[in-house]
């Protein structure tokens, strides 16, 4: 997928001005966080489980080579195949080769962020293979030729009237006079349209929420049941996944599953959690004849051992974006690539480069909500700061910004000068603003005052008040 993260500022402005998006985001702000909170309150062990989940992921990442080999060994033992892919191109090529080997014409897909990351749909379509997204949200955005705007609710940026419009434009065989006023009717229509596709598909592609090393299994977590129809009905099941989805055992996966649905939708457990191990067994009346796992690296192995390793713990629950004031204001498309919100702000520069995605780690209020709700305790704000440092070190910020920061750093490293200047500035501003107590405009501070007033300082700096107090003086 082509990234537009460079245009973040313009994207964000467009998001703020988009009425439908703002209505949709208002629904999200009250929905997800409240449901998560209620689910967490009902599980007294939630906090301890977070700590254990973190340690399971850390342990796996520290021994990732071992667990990958064990996983591969067990996939092969159950009759499946593993395809290692260093790059998006290799991943797409592996899928295409499998599809060609069975002469596939129609491919159904469950939701897979890895498939989005590698641009699989375009690649398959370009090679004459019809690709049908089956998750309702993914189906809607596929019809609209849009990328997903959220990890687990890809069409969260749309209102139902927009979905109805899309269905009318695409489902031309249906009665144009039919009513599509209710979400119920839209769901029923999608169900009816997609059911024959499930039955006709030659290959089914799903993602994986977890891979289990000890059994060579992939796990999907869904509510619609589309992932299960996708992987049960066609002759071939392909799992599109990445290295860091691995956990050692079923018990370890279970611990993470206890956190996943609660953190994501606020459910105790999703409607369907399915563990798949290899292809159809002798005597089975259904299930795929082939089971393939495409394992994508795409820069992940290089994150190990460094300041961004913690990001590989992410289980893609979306709690961070659901609680992010920036995401809630601008929506997911503003981030300009596959992943959005705080996890996207950290992961996107890792995968497509900080030169391309440097705006994202800057788009944060550093309120810390993301880290406080993360089920695997990823220090997202700290990692955004790491990216800002890298961006500065690689001289990627605009010259004026760099010059300002350098000037500030030069002054800040000279305490006497710094204190004198701060004291001078606060006294001057305090005197200037003594009437109104606030400034509507200030030279050089237009970025602040264009949208809000700047409160005038009391007149003296904290440093000088503190110094006075320590020296036994009184503070008036």
């Amino acid at each position: 997928m082509l990234a537009t993260s460079r245009a973040f500022e313009a994207n964000a402005r467009a998001g703020l001005a988009n009425d439908n998006l703002q209505r949709a985001l208002a629904l999200m702000r009250t929905g997800f966080p409240q449901r998560r909170r209620l689910a967490v309150e009902r599980l007294p062990e939630f906090e301890v489980l977070r700590e254990i989940a973190k340690s399971i992921k850390d342990h796996t990442l520290e021994h990732l080579d071992f667990y990958l080999e064990l996983f591969e060994e067990n996939v092969l033992a159950s009759g499946g195949q593993v395809h290692w892919a260093r790059s998006p191109d290799e991943a797409c090529a592996a899928v295409l080769a499998i599809c060609r080997s069975v002469d596939a014409r129609i491919v159904t897909k469950g939701k897979s962020m890895i498939a989005e990351e590698v641009g699989l749909n375009e690649r398959l379509e370009k090679n004459g293979i019809t690709t049908v997204e089956t998750d309702l949200g993914e189906y809607i955005i596929q019809l609209r030729h849009e990328p997903p705007s959220h990890l687990i609710a890809p069409a969260i940026h749309l209102m139902k009237e927009q979905v109805a419009e899309t269905f009318r434009a695409e489902h031309l065989a249906l009665d144009p006079e039919r009513s599509l006023a209710e979400a119920r009717q839209l769901c029923d229509e999608a169900r009816a349209v997609l059911r024959p596709r499930f039955l006709a598909a030659d290959v089914g592609i799903t993602g994986a929420n977890f891979l289990v090393a000890s059994t060579g299994s992939s796990i999907i977590v869904t509510n619609e049941g589309n992932g299960d129809l996708t992987q049960t009905l066609p002759r071939v099941h392909i799992v599109m996944t990445s290295l860091e989805k691995l956990v050692p055992t079923l018990e370890d996966a279970t611990t993470l599953l206890r956190l996943l649905a609660r953190s994501a939708t606020g459910q105790e457990f999703s409607s369907y959690t399915t563990v798949s191990t290899g292809p159809r067994r002798p005597g089975d009346l259904d299930g795929p004849e082939q089971y393939h796992v495409v394992l994508l690296d795409n820069g992940r192995s290089a994150l190990l051992g460094g300041e961004f390793q913690d990001m590989l713990r992410c289980i893609r629950c979306s709690a961070c974006m659901n609680h992010c004031p920036v995401y809630a204001a601008i929506g997911g498309h503003a981030y300009g690539w596959v992943y959005s919100g705080p996890m996207g702000a950290v992961l996107t520069p890792s995968l497509i480069g900080v030169a391309e995605a440097g705006h994202l780690p800057n788009a944060s209020t550093f309120c810390g909500q993301c880290e406080s709700v993360c089920p695997v305790k990823i220090p997202l704000p700290k990692m955004m700061r790491h990216w800002r440092e890298r961006e500065f070190a690689e001289k990627l910020n605009p010259p004026v910004y760099r010059a300002g920061l350098s000037l500030w750093a030069w002054v800040a490293k000279r305490p006497a000068l710094y204190h004198a200047l701060v004291e001078l500035a606060s006294r001057a501003l305090g005197w200037l603003g003594r009437g109104r107590g606030r400034f509507r405009t200030l030279p050089l501070a237009n970025g602040w005052t264009a949208v809000r007033d700047l409160p005038a300082p009391e007149g003296r700096s904290f440093h000088s008040l503190w110094a006075e107090r320590r020296n036994g003086g009184t503070v008036k």
């Binding site: 990958l68 769901c187 509510n223 055992t249 079923l250 459910q267 409607s271 563990v275 009346l285 259904d286």
Partner: protein, 213 residues
């Protein structure tokens, strides 16, 4: 693509600043995996209602289908244990054995275990238990014997290991199919069953007709 495999593994080791793990550490990790060690298991109270004896199942199924205004056509898992149930006791109930096909509206299966922790059914695939029955029909009826109820998911894994190992598919099912993809309104019956109906059988040995109190 073994070159990719070697490069990815080498990249991981380079990043972690070490070579391949030594044999002792690999043995330790294999032991960790083989131990099936449980992490924290939350203490949960779950109420289980027990309503039927096996002989009462056909009656319960028929009554449910009638109440829901559903046709009395049933596709049953080719599960030998379902043979014990006298389906003929309700002559109006038409049954077929097999996997689910596109036109089937109601399926009936057993489960492997039922997990009290979150009211979750654990179903496994096999020659007698095709997976399509769990997803294609609009209505899925699941028979649960009271002695199949276990406390946690971990109990399910243990039971699986003593019962012949990993099947091709394990389906944990907690309620009917649903979606919140349109304006976050929960709608049931997105792609899988619109209805999930559980019949809890109090005592699988009990031959007498009639429901328990």
């Amino acid at each position: 693509m073994s070159e990719a495999r070697e490069q990815i593994l080498a990249g991981i080791r380079r990043s972690l600043k070490r070579g391949r793990l030594d044999a002792a550490r690999e043995t330790e990790l294999r032991d960790r995996v083989a131990a099936h060690r449980r992490n924290l298991v939350p203490a949960r109270a779950a109420a289980v209602a027990r309503v039927n004896s096996p002989a009462a199942v056909p009656e319960a199924v028929a009554r449910y289908l009638a109440a829901e205004n559903l046709p009395a056509d049933l596709v049953l898992a080719p599960d030998l244990s379902l043979d014990d149930i006298l389906w003929d006791a309700r002559p109006l109930l038409r049954t077929r054995r097999g996997r689910a096909e596109a036109g089937d509206t109601v399926s009936l299966t057993r489960c492997f275990v039922a997990i009290a922790e979150t009211g979750t059914l654990m179903l496994i695939s096999g020659a007698e238990t095709p997976t399509t029955l769990n997803f294609l029909p609009d209505t899925h009826i699941v028979l649960v014997y009271a002695d199949q109820v276990v406390a946690t998911y971990e109990d399910g894994w243990d039971r699986l290991r003593t019962d012949g190992g990993m099947p091709r598919a394990i389906n944990f099912i907690t309620g009917p199919s649903r979606t919140g993809d349109i304006e976050q309104r929960i709608e049931l019956g997105a792609h899988g069953p619109r209805r999930l109906h559980i019949i809890l059988v109090d005592d699988r040995q009990k031959a007498t007709d009639g429901e328990s109190k």
